[in-house]
Symmetry: C2
Subunit: 294 residues, 2 copies
């Protein structure tokens, strides 16, 4: 087994590891600052790791986006239009390739997580899997037949326009592009903006819970109706609230209203789940991206 | 080249052909009645065609649905829950295999059409393509890397719950499962139920046009955000109204609001289009399904 490197590049932290999809030998968390400072720390970690554990064959990056993933584009591998200071146009693959002299693959963090959950996590054996994360933003990745899905761009289902819940009143939403798209209504910061606190601080009967479950149900129903995944993993900070998973399943079922016959009671219970990877799925998926080019 | 047979199985007619995806040598249209009567005519046509043109190597069917497409399921290949009299549980592949002694492949009509449009039609060269048809119902098929997409079930994006347009008032929608899902609001019969006539009979300034374009725009934006197809083909009777395609493009762009950078002006103009296959795309796609098992 050749050793690989994996990077889960997030807006607040980079999680880096050396090892493979079966497990890291060593990991590090690096605070996200500008690209120069952040990648210098990443390179230093990987160089030390090589000294300790031996050479790495390739690096995989599961990154926040949007990313240019069209190999024919001149800006292939770069972050495109992000409001994150300094990161617009950042070319992580080129920098790491230059610094470490090994091939580098990149995809979205959520596509990497979808790959990982289908191969090693809660959806083990699923031929197609959608990975949803609800936290600072809302991201959705899609893996089919062991490959991340992209075409013209990559999945961005956090920005779906779903039907507003009546209990959300006239809350305008916080997405700078779309106002009250899914991310604008149901991300962690949107919940705080609408209700004055995170779900964890709001009592069980608070309308925020009903509204949030409704949006998650609409999202899962939309994913099922468009892409027919065999499994949906719901992850991220907001979804760590245990009752939300069950509520999201129930609302998904209500939305489908018996139309998709393959979604039986058992399917709802076993195919819409929390993540199941041992390590963060974005990191495990980054190892898989690396393995594919090693 | 071995000769193949293709069947586009629709709710009102079956279009059958012998030839291959490059073109039919002979086709026939057969009115859809109950399965016994309809398939007897199909078998008779194919038997005559074999007498005239020589043996066929395989049969492909692009069918109305929903279909059971899980090869591990006991009802693999059958139509599942349809209100169409006599068709629930119908096993077209088994009947045609028994009658003609050749392998038979089946997928949804819209998945077959998506395959065909990506290989031979308006999206020639696209690695991923969504095919939308708006007529008696609304169907959406998805092809990626030359294969139809299915997982737990198959795409059913006609039943998406989109945001209602204010000008639609309190029209309840006509979908027996979901009321005002996309098909319930925007299929041909829904347009007639809401406005008292088909689009073709309504003047250019009628709100029906605005409402219809909005729903099509929401659909395309949803497909892009979930599955990131390289091309979207808009087909079917309702979309034969020429101005609707441009209006749908404009509304898709408004919905995305600049978020998906790969969707440039040129992309909207060239990657959301009418169908481009010479023959009905469902028929061409059915030849492709046959070729894959021949």
């Amino acid at each position: 087994m050749r050793m690989l490197a994996a990077i889960e590049a997030g807006g607040t932290k980079f999680v880096c590891g050396v090892g493979d999809a079966a497990g890291s030998r060593e990991t590090a968390r690096i605070a996200t600052r500008d690209p120069d400072a952040t990648l210098a720390d990443v390179v230093a970690f990987l160089a030390r790791a090589v000294d300790r554990h031996g050479p790495i064959a390739a690096i995989g990056i599961g990154s926040f986006g949007p990313l240019q993933l069209d190999p024919a584009a001149p800006d292939f591998g770069r972050i495109t239009t992000t409001p994150k200071p300094g990161w617009q146009g950042a070319d992580m693959p080129a920098r790491l390739r230059a610094a470490l002299g090994v091939p580098v693959a990149i995809d979205t963090d959520v596509n990497a997580a979808a790959l990982a959950e289908a191969a090693h996590g809660a959806g083990r054996g699923a031929r197609s899997l959608a990975y949803v994360t609800v936290g600072t933003g809302i991201g959705v990745g899609l893996a089919m037949d062991g490959r991340p899905v992209h075409g013209l761009g990559h999945p961005e289902a956090g920005h779906l326009l779903l039907r507003r819940h009546a209990d959300h009143g006239d809350f305008a939403g916080i997405c700078p592009y779309h106002g009250d798209c899914l991310e604008g209504l149901a991300s962690g910061p949107a919940i705080i903006a609408a209700w004055g606190g995170s779900l964890a601080t709001l009592p069980a009967g608070h309308p925020a819970w009903t509204v949030q479950a409704d949006y998650l149900g609409q999202l899962c129903a939309t994913l099922i109706l468009v892409a027919a995944p065999e499994h949906i993993v719901l992850g991220g900070g907001v979804l760590s609230q245990p009752s939300l998973l069950d509520a999201a399943r129930a609302r998904t079922r209500e939305r489908l209203a018996g139309y998709c016959a393959a979604w039986t009671d058992e399917a709802f219970a076993t195919r819409i789940t929390a993540p199941g990877c041992t390590e963060p799925p974005g990191l495990t998926g980054a190892y898989m991206l690396a393995a594919a080019i090693a």
